[in-house]
């Protein structure tokens, strides 16, 4: 039982990290950013490049990779999405463009690095640290702590800083925000930077735990989106709650059905929530 709780927390941490990034971009840019899944994968391949190919120390490589993903997010916004926004494109058009971008990025990774599994795991595979009868590896505990830290930092940023307040203003009412002198393009650019950086961070953490392939981003992205919808897309604490709920139900489900049906469990929850409570646990009505 403790192992189930520990496993759920690890999964929930990843869903939360990806989900926060996704919802930052959704709430300001107002579209479903599918290429977020590719940003996640790129985080893993960036750290592989920096650490294993260029021999930069691990911590420094991680920082470079996170920043790299953030900057990539900004480039995506500058080149594609701000152009679309200025033309008054609908959310559906932006979604489709993001879908195309996702195809381009994932296949570019395949062309450059090949489709086979790559690993940046350092040292021997260990049994993990025992906690109350459950086992957790070092990188898994770092994953959980990082996501709790990010959650607290992002809450603080949104509540206390200027950029956080303008971000909430744009999310709440873009036109009113613009009238009050907030440059919404800048705010959206910032949320692309932060959101993509979080996705990259999650990708790094997953790749250090279970290796990487070019299509690794799709499943965690989908789960994060489900967690965001369950928790409420407009609420940061809701996302964490949704992530924990989803991860826990999935891990409990393994007790009854085999583990390959985790996707089916998530899909069922997505449908149920979209029908009975589309705003999620803590979100506003959508």
């Amino acid at each position: 039982m403790t192992q189930i709780i520990v496993n759920s927390l690890i999964a929930a941490s990843i869903y939360t990290l990806v989900g926060i990034g996704f919802s930052l971009i959704y709430n300001t840019g107002r579209f479903f950013h599918f290429a977020h899944a590719a940003t996640f994968t790129l985080g893993a391949y960036f750290i592989y490049t920096f650490n294993l190919l260029l021999h930069i120390p691990l911590i420094l490589s991680a920082i470079f990779s996170i920043l790299g993903c953030g900057i990539l997010g900004m480039i995506m916004d500058k080149t594609i999405f701000s152009t679309l926004r200025n033309r008054g494109a609908s959310a559906l058009i932006m979604l489709l463009a993001s879908l195309g971008l996702y195809v381009v990025l994932q296949n570019s990774i395949s062309v450059i690095y090949g489709d086979h599994i790559k690993s940046i795991r350092v040292g021997e595979i260990t049994e993990g640290i025992p906690i109350l009868g459950a086992r957790i590896t070092e990188i898994q505990s770092i994953t959980v702590m990082t996501s709790i830290l990010i959650l607290m930092v992002i809450r603080l940023i949104l509540k206390k800083t200027n950029i956080g307040i303008s971000l909430r203003a744009v999310a709440n009412n873009p036109i009113l925000a613009q009238i009050s002198g907030i440059d919404s393009n800048k705010v959206i650019l910032f949320s692309f930077f932060a959101g993509s950086a979080f996705a990259g961070l999650a990708g790094i953490l997953v790749s250090m735990d279970i290796d990487m392939t070019p299509s690794m981003g799709m499943a965690p992205f989908m789960m994060a989106v489900v967690a965001v919808i369950i928790g409420g897309i407009s609420s940061i604490s809701g996302i964490a709650l949704g992530a924990i709920f989803l991860a826990f139900v999935q891990n409990l489900g393994i007790l009854f059905v085999s583990s390959q049906w985790q996707d089916a469990i998530a899909f069922g929850m997505l449908i149920i929530f979209l029908i009975i409570r589309p705003q999620g646990f803590l979100g506003r009505r959508i």
């Binding site: 494109a89 609908s90 971008l101 381009v104 499943a219 989908m222 899909f267 997505l270």
Partner: protein, 290 residues
């Protein structure tokens, strides 16, 4: 010559897939990234029936259509209550789910090993084994699908679909049961897509889950959008262009290992470019702006 026939058969299969999606996405405005699921259902139903019971084509293809339509109904009924972007997410999730089921239900689908040796079909006493006979079969099924779609889209029913796409609330207010139209159109599209899957299974005689990924679904919706959503000839044009275009890359001498990826990069980039400069595609009517 054989190569050319092969390309034409592929185009035929993609015309069936994209035209059936055009009914859902182009005419009714419901963007679905789950079409490769129904493609897969068609292929697997036909393959399993032919392999396990050795049943003829004339029975297998209608069974596949029926089965895909039932799945379409089961999936469509709850998800079509959801609008716009959220519907896209649900179809995306369903596509991922289909892929995991195909990959993990080993006892039925043999998972990643796939189903080899699908027997060649017989129709009216003729054995369909040569490329030319497959071309004839493709042409016949393609023509049948297009005829059905033409009749649907050029009927009062088809006009209501377009009305729903343009203004859902208005269509409801003139007394049309919008959700019933949406579900029926989703079921129809799913059933017709399975014909493409049947053809593929018979033609290649080997299927595995890797042919029915999210990427495949995105490819099919790209054909619809780039060709022109909401117009009958749109996906036909799109299928010809998007299937032929990567074949030109062959002459650039790209190594086979990356050819598939370069093909996908190409249509992904095309999708982005069209969204920026020409969201209605080459000849489309629907611009995704409502």
């Amino acid at each position: 010559m054989e190569y050319l026939l092969h390309i034409i058969i592929l185009i035929g299969i993609y015309i069936i897939l994209s035209s059936s999606l055009n009914l859902i996405a182009g005419y009714t405005g419901l963007i679905s990234i789950a079409h490769a699921s129904f493609y897969a259902i068609g292929a697997y139903v036909v393959a399993l029936m032919a392999l396990k019971f050795n049943t003829p084509l004339i029975l297998n293809v209608p069974s596949a259509i029926l089965f895909a339509a039932i799945i379409g109904f089961i999936i469509g009924t709850p998800s079509l209550r959801i609008h716009g972007d959220y519907f896209v997410i649900v179809t995306f999730a369903f596509q991922i789910l289909t892929f995991t089921v195909l990959k993990n239900w080993i006892s039925l689908t043999r998972g990643a090993l796939g189903l080899p040796g699908i027997p060649q079909p017989k129709l009216l006493g003729f054995e369909i084994s040569s490329l030319t006979s497959f071309l004839a079969l493709t042409a016949a099924l393609c023509a049948l699908t297009l005829l059905i779609l033409y009749r649907i889209t050029h009927s009062p029913y088809g006009r209501i679909l377009e009305a729903i796409r343009e203004d859902e609330v208005f269509s409801q207010s003139i007394g049309k049961n919008v959700s019933r139209y949406k579900i029926s159109v989703f079921v129809l599209g799913a059933g017709l897509a399975s014909i493409g899957g049947s053809l593929y299974a018979y033609y290649i005689s080997f299927i595995d889950p890797s042919s029915f990924t999210v990427m495949e679904s995105i490819f099919i919706i790209s054909i619809v959008i780039i060709g022109g959503a909401g117009r009958f000839a749109g996906p036909i044009l799109g299928a010809i262009v998007l299937v032929m275009l990567p074949e030109l890359l062959r002459f650039l001498g790209l190594p086979a290992s990356i050819a598939a990826n370069v093909r996908q990069i190409l249509y992904g980039a095309l999708l982005v470019a069209f969204m920026i400069w020409r969201p209605q595609g080459f000849i489309g009517k629907y611009t995704f702006n409502n």
